[in-house]
């Protein structure tokens, strides 16, 4: 009997706490986990920044299995959490079915377009940011050979690669770009050992700057590059601090800004298609005290000029995902 009572009590308190916390925002991480030093961590950083500045609180969950995607979305929506932000394209099909059932809840999905009236789809112009770091790589390279290491071989990562190659060729048309993908399964996002092996292979082929667009795998790329005395380029979060003086720069994809903006707007978050590019600080090149000695004035000038031209539309960086092909590869 007492067990029954306490169970009922727990149910009641659960219902109460769920009712009281309405309009609390929520963030759902992808299977890669919260602390991947890259994509998910950037999202977490944005949410934390919002919480610190406003004193608000938010709910978060790391998923264990695919079946939990829809479950987490529904349970959070039922509990009245709003808006619900999810980090990663894998939520696309789940959100497609859940969003119509909760017309009053706003959903924000990053890296994917879901065409529903209550969904804000945030996509990034990664090709533009990759173009800029490609230019810097070509200028920093002494051998004329640079490398690219992707995570899982999906169109999104080819978009990074295509922008990067275009940037390299814009500076040095004769430069060679060696490209490798870590794998074809989600495990490729978190395989630093293989990332390191690929880096060594690229170094042996003459690469002296390596760009890692590979989530957690990139940690191994940056480590190996630092050990072998060549330069590397980080991705998503600012990774310059990982190896001061040995990371040329980081192509920052401001997932944190996307989450921060969504949380700040709260239930009034604007829905629809939202592109974050160079023009609105969606992507940028990281320059701080850790990589300043590596950056020449000429590099800065070239990057600034290219940025202005891309924003003005004078340079168009080809987007791989627009036609599933890359003119320079």
């Amino acid at each position: 009997m007492s067990l029954m009572k306490s169970l009922l009590g727990a149910a009641a308190s659960l219902a109460l706490s769920a009712g009281a916390s309405f309009a609390e925002p929520a963030l759902i991480f992808d299977l890669g986990g919260k602390f991947d030093k890259s994509f998910n961590e950037a999202a977490f950083g944005g949410a934390t920044r919002w919480a610190e500045e406003t004193g608000g609180s938010f709910r978060e969950v790391e998923l264990q299995s695919e079946a939990q995607r829809e479950q987490a979305l529904r349970r959070f929506a039922e509990a009245g959490l709003n808006p619900i932000v999810m980090a990663g394209f894998s939520f696309g099909s789940s959100l497609e079915t859940v969003a119509p059932d909760f017309p009053d809840t706003k959903f924000v999905i990053i890296d994917m377009v879901v065409d529903q009236p209550n969904v804000r789809s945030v996509v990034f112009n990664e090709h533009e940011g990759s173009y800029l770091v490609g230019m810097m790589a070509a200028k920093a390279s002494e051998t004329g050979t640079v490398g690219f290491i992707g995570g899982m071989d999906i169109p999104l990562i080819r978009k990074f690669a295509c922008g990067y190659v275009q940037g390299v060729k814009a500076v040095n048309p004769d430069a060679e770009v060696i490209q490798n993908m870590t794998g074809t399964t989600p495990a490729a996002w978190n395989d630093p050992v293989k990332g390191g092996e690929l880096t060594k292979a690229q170094i042996s082929q003459g690469a002296d700057v390596v760009y890692a667009a590979a989530g957690g795998t990139g940690v191994g790329v940056l480590q190996t590059a630092a050990d072998e005395g060549i330069l590397s380029i980080g991705v998503d979060s600012n990774q310059n601090y990982l190896h001061p003086g040995q990371v040329l720069t980081s192509m920052m994809k401001r997932v944190d800004n996307a989450v921060y903006e969504a949380f700040s707007a709260g239930v009034d978050v604007e829905t629809g298609f939202n592109v974050m590019g160079l023009a609105n600080d969606g992507v940028s090149v990281a320059i701080d005290e850790f990589n300043e000695p590596l950056i020449t004035d000429e590099m800065t000038a070239a990057v600034e000029e290219a940025t202005a031209k891309i924003v003005a539309g004078e340079i168009t960086v080809h987007d791989y995902m627009s036609d599933d092909s890359c003119p320079v590869m």
């Binding site: 264990q64 695919e66 479950q71 099909s93």
Partner: protein, 362 residues
Amino acid sequence: MDRMPKWADVLLIPLINLLIAFALSGLVILAIGKDPVVALQTMVQGSFGSTNGIGYTLYYTTNFIFTGLAVAIAFHARLFNIGGEGQAALGGLGVALVCLSIQWPHWLIALPAAMVGGAVFGAAWAFIPAYLQAKRGSHIVITTIMFNFIAAALMGYLLVEVIKAPGSMASETSPFPPGASLPTFHEMLAPLGIEFNRNTPANVSFLVALACLVFFWALVWRTRLGYEIRAFGQSESAAIYAGINPVKITVIAMLISGAFAGLMAINNVMGEAERLILNSVEGAGFIGIAVALMGRSHPVGILLAALLFGFLYQGGAELSLWENIPRELVIVIQALVILLTGALDGMVRGPVEKLFAKRKPA
């Protein structure tokens, strides 16, 4: 050697193991500064407190019944099939190929076809280790575990290069046609006037799983083949002396085992996702080992053990949703139960046996 009554063996020992596991889990939760009582309440409430929770619990349970049966039938022939994970993955491929092959007019026609597809692919994946064990003496534990990796790599290749839906970023096939959509509990119970949450993945596969439990019991204890399998498992040399062909029994037992594992795909692939995704099995093949061990390879025990692990999965999800308990610790709790009920069974068995021996001096 008959030191314990049967009820103690099948009920008391698993129960004591479970209590120890929960006590240890409680300590783990205390150690991270949460209230274990609240955590337990969240788990129970989340998995049995609403039709939503029950739907998810039974969905996981269905998976574990199939993989538990797969491991159990092999156990009866004293074969340790660790390859349920890979066999279930290949079963998913079989189900997906069947479902995508034509526009199915009705699920009643699609389901039997998909069951055949899943069972055949699962059995085929188990056949190679079975043949190697029977003919070459390659140890089944080693070969089946290696076949899990081969299956994962094969599925990765197929889903990325061959059967991936065009234009999709994720590695998955196109959605199955509507005619291959299995009725959920909501659709099955609504005509009876019972309101069941419409969004849970539990579906008609659960009834198929229950039917498989009955089939398993009849097969093992009421047929000649079942007798041969058990005789072979009890003593290989005696079975051979009695005229039982060891090659035949090894291969047949493993084929049935692989077929059960492959059948799981009607639940997770056809019933839930309605398309084939990468890594669709998600460890259910390994949970099946714990389920079969805990259920003493008996259908009733398997049902109860599968229900327990369904509860742990769904309750664990609720823990990370509402209690902010990190998912790694949820896995620790699940692992403690597996460790205690599966691996450390003897730790409790010894003392309990002594206790009974003292009470009833023979």
